[in-house]
């Protein structure tokens, strides 16, 4: 297998973009990543696009072809383009497919992108589309919602470990603090613990400010074999590991309600692949679709003992400047969560951090970063490790 490097990245702005279409935003991200890499589009050997549900959000399937076409890579060039889906982990999967294509030697210059356009439908329709990431026949039919499933994880975490609503809220407060320094973030406002606790209850114990929003956005990056990465950029960021794991589709079938075994398994595989431990990681972008999800993630990835994620957050150890900065982008909570794009956005954020390009939210001396992307309530997890050093 060949070593692989990221040579170009781009996030669009994240938010409610009434004036822009699905194809507009993903083309902006793709063109931006190509520009950042210094390659020319016709040099691409392939594209992998993460998208959860074009079918439900914009009544569009055949996403791969659409994007290649509107990027100017179909007519004459006929560059292969593949859509990849694993609910909210679609972006992470697209990256992994792209890395494997380059590592295997089958393709050289490859784009990995992610996109979701969620605000063209009502929020009720968007929620129904997202619910399809859970078990439609045995969870959805009983009235389960996504906040409801994560609320059941939160309730159990509180019961077993004494985690508090204030500790959940501390995740949102910290992520808004980080997001306030990210120019692409959907919500750049800072919030307080009281703001979270006084916001409306969605699914007890999760308030609306414990939940990530509905977002439009796209992200893209360009990969190259590590041996030629320096031909394109002075700061290639190397892919040290890309790992994926599966678990039961329904929350009720999990071994342990408060552990995402897919996260644990993908994390272990990634650490093994990179020959690293949690102590080697300087920052991590985790999948905080709900505040409890960030607490479970930092536990499942080995940054803190099971049950102590809430306390670690409350103590400020996951803030920029803390022991392990978590979600410097603002995370899904503040930066926004265009579901198919999120996995790629996390990689763009970590790449920019490792390049030293993150401005006021820069983690000093960041050398190694991790991303963690989850599909559904934990049925798919993707964990990647990036490094400045090969």
């Amino acid at each position: 297998m060949r070593d692989v490097a990221i040579i170009g990245v781009k996030n669009t702005n994240f938010g409610e973009m009434w004036d822009r279409s699905f194809r507009d935003i993903v083309v902006e991200a793709g063109v931006g990543a190509i520009e950042d890499s210094g390659i020319s589009g016709e040099k691409l050997d392939g594209m992998y696009v993460g998208n959860m549900s074009g079918g439900q959000f914009v009544e569009q399937e055949h996403i791969g072809a659409l994007i290649a076409d509107y990027s100017g890579l179909s007519l004459d060039l006929h560059i292969p383009s593949t859509r990849v889906e694993a609910a909210c982990a679609s972006g992470g999967l697209a990256f992994r497919q792209a890395v494997m294509a380059v590592a295997s030697g089958h393709e050289d210059l490859v784009m990995a992108a992610g996109v979701e356009k969620m605000t063209d439908v009502s929020s009720t329709a968007a929620s129904a589309a997202l619910a399809a990431a859970a078990d439609r026949e045995w969870e959805g039919i009983m009235g389960a919602t996504f906040p409801g499933l994560y609320a059941m994880i939160a309730k159990m975490h509180m019961h077993q470990y004494g985690t508090t609503s204030e500790q959940l809220a501390a995740v949102a407060v910290k992520n808004h603090q980080n997001g306030s320094m990210n120019p692409i973030a959907q919500y750049k406002n800072r919030i307080t613990i009281d703001n979270v606790l006084n916001s409306i209850m969605v699914a007890d114990p999760l308030h609306i400010f414990d939940c990530s929003p509905i977002t439009d956005g796209a992200s893209a990056l360009v990969l190259a074999p590590a041996d030629i990465a320096h031909e394109y950029t002075d700061t290639p960021i190397y892919v040290k590991a890309t790992a994926q794991a599966s678990d039961t589709i329904a929350l009720h079938d999990r071994r342990d309600i408060t552990t995402l075994d897919a996260s644990v398994s993908a994390g272990k595989r990634a650490y093994e692949m990179a020959k690293m431990t949690p102590a080697d990681i300087d920052l991590v972008e985790v999948h905080d679709c709900f505040t409890i999800a960030e607490i479970c993630a930092i536990e499942d990835l080995g940054f803190v003992k099971k049950g102590l994620g809430g306390k670690m957050t409350e103590d400020g150890e996951t803030a920029i400047g803390g022991k392990i900065p978590v979600n410097t982008s603002g995370g899904l909570k503040s930066c926004g969560h265009p579901v198919g794009a999120t996995g790629i956005k996390q990689l763009v954020e970590v790449t920019q951090q490792l390049r030293g390009d993150s401005g006021p939210r820069q983690v000093d001396g960041a050398e190694v970063g991790m991303t963690h992307n989850v599909g559904g309530s934990g049925a798919t997890a993707v964990v990647n490790i990036l490094s400045r050093k090969r």
Binding site: W138, T145, P147, V202, A203
Partner: protein, 133 residues
Amino acid sequence: MSVARFWRKQINRYNIVGTHCKTCDTHYYPPRNVCPKCRRDGDIEAYKFAGPGNVVTYTIIHTAAEGFEMQAPYALAIIELDEGPRFTSQVVCDPKEVSIGMRVKPVFRKLGESGDKGMIYYGTKYVPDNDRN
């Protein structure tokens, strides 16, 4: 959910019928045709569950799923049947009464409907088993 899709699992939803693997003596509800522990060595048969169980975890849903607006707030829970398997259902009572570990028993209830003229879905919800709490 389409008529056929609901109808296929009607007996399972109405009667709490799942499956049982004779090889490893594990019970499954919702039903599985392949035992995840034994896979091809498994020997699956239909199994009717007794019904009662415990609340493993729960939430009170205030922002309802589409079609459940009239029910909000409602208690969604993961129930562990006495034979072992866990599944998702609602606990029908004052949501404030629900707690982790409480004993519950099944009741036959309407789950939802496909609009004014569509089919009505029925299935199993749970109520507190006050004799045993």
